[in-house]
Amino acid sequence: MNLTNLTITKTHQGLINKDFSAVELTKAYLNKIKKEDKKIHSFLTISKDLAFSQAREIDKKISKKENIDLLAGIPSAIKDNIMVEDIRCTAASKILENYVASYNATVIEKLKKAGTVILGKTNLDEFAMGSSCENSAFGTTKNPCDLKRVTGGSSGGSAAAVAADLCGYALGSDTGGSIRLPASFCGVVGLKPTYGTVSRYGLIAFASSLDQIGPITKTIEDCKIVFDAISGWDEMDSTSVNSKFKIQNSKLQFKIENLRIGIPKEYFVKGMDKEVEKKIKKAIKKYEARGAKIIEVSLPHTEYALPVYYIISTSEASANLARYDGIRYGKSKVKKSRVKSLLDVYLENRGQGFGDEVKRRIMLGTYALSSGYYDAYYLKAQKVRTLIKQDFENVFKKVDVLLTPVSPTTAFKIGEKTDNPLTMYLSDIFTISVNLAGLPALSLPCGMVGKLSVGLQIIGKPFEEERILEIGKTLENILTS
């Protein structure tokens, strides 16, 4: 029996039927990682001892016939910018190379309580800044569909680990598409929840008004299970949303026949790969065939989303990353002879500890916030952000959800876009508006071009994760039946 390609529910049934134990399951995954991750490089740290101690705990409960949670004993992989107590947490940066997390992120606290097994920490673009996972200080993760190609970023390690069956499910984080793009490129399911739905406590901050943690899974059913486990109000995150509001919104009933699906015309423009476009349009046709009403809509400020995103996210990042000075934690790189003052310590630790893209973004953000430029860049971007939000509010008066491609292309070749930062930034063109507006969005595989997967994006109204998951399931059922 192959234990590593089961869904969460099937694994759970196997555990309670005693077809296999949690320890056997953990062993199966760790062996597979040992054999196959050399070529993919999805993990940065393997937390073997933690994994086995969690698995033994669950086996004990099963033998005593205690009720166990759906996620109990399920082996998971966690993006290495989410803190797991006593496990190294690097954010794929040299400046945190030897940093050991001193506490659990709220999502980890919740998953541990559910009894999940944590196999290890996965690769990412340094501090989640990138669209290809090539900005990791510890090497690029390769796409399991084609090892010459990127996984997408920044949660590339998590998406690759799920795609290659190196874990049951994974957590990623999404600031401008960092869950959805790699999910799309690797052919797995990824959900970026509504801003405020999942606590950010213990997530290494990149851009605090945009960051959200979310699941990367093999199926939509798995996605819902993990989402339900990690979401909820948290006093440790001041932007966490009170659950009362959420419940009111999640009890929405719907039938595919009554569904109004919006297709934003700005997301179907020239420059898009013809094969990708075909797959997306074919997916839309499937919904139409089931009776959904397809309506062309317009989000007129879409073209400004990318500059707005890069101004806001780099500004927030320049402030968030000011804390990394190598003094209180992280490896101090300073050669003692060269350093005269505290300022020298900062300059040298940060100059040597951060990689090129992180430095570039700190510089951009510092510039955008600096005296004389604040109004022209940061304030202007915040105002255009309002217009982008209003675009969505307007179309959601006419339609229930939006369908778009996740990316204009399939996974590109490793090294193809590393010479020009701006070309790389354009990979995020269809995912960033969602973060600016704080909306939930799902990426799910809707077809293949050669060996490579195409991702369909389903964007919902705030707090309607349940609905977009259900809508995604309709397509998943059609495609897998």
Binding site: S209, P307, A322, L342, L343, M363, K380, K383, R385, T386
Partner: protein
């Protein structure tokens, strides 16, 4: 023209001479791209700091007693220390 050395100093980043030139070119082309925002009329638009309105969350500013193990973990992470104190370079 962006003054790379000045911004690097504000950002507390040491940048080599080679990097200054490269960064100037890269940042200039990104900033040119940002200029497309000049076209947007925002005269009557309010800025959004978040996707929905966020209010300050207040609580009493009281110290919470932490177990010694927690403190030990934080101390262990420090690259340089003296006893149970963090050691830094002199400021003056």
């Amino acid at each position: 023209m962006i003054d790379v050395e000045h911004i690097a100093k504000l950002a507390r980043l040491e940048i080599s001479q080679d990097e200054v030139e490269k960064m100037r070119n890269e940042l200039s082309s990104i900033l040119d791209y940002f200029d497309s925002l000049k076209k947007v009329d925002v005269k009557k638009v309010k800025p959004s700091s978040h996707s929905f309105s966020v209010e300050n969350v207040m609580r009493e500013d009281l110290p919470k007693k932490q177990p010694k193990e927690k403190n030990d973990k934080l101390l262990k992470a420090m690259p340089e220390k003296k006893g149970r104190y963090l050691k830094v370079k002199s400021v003056l």
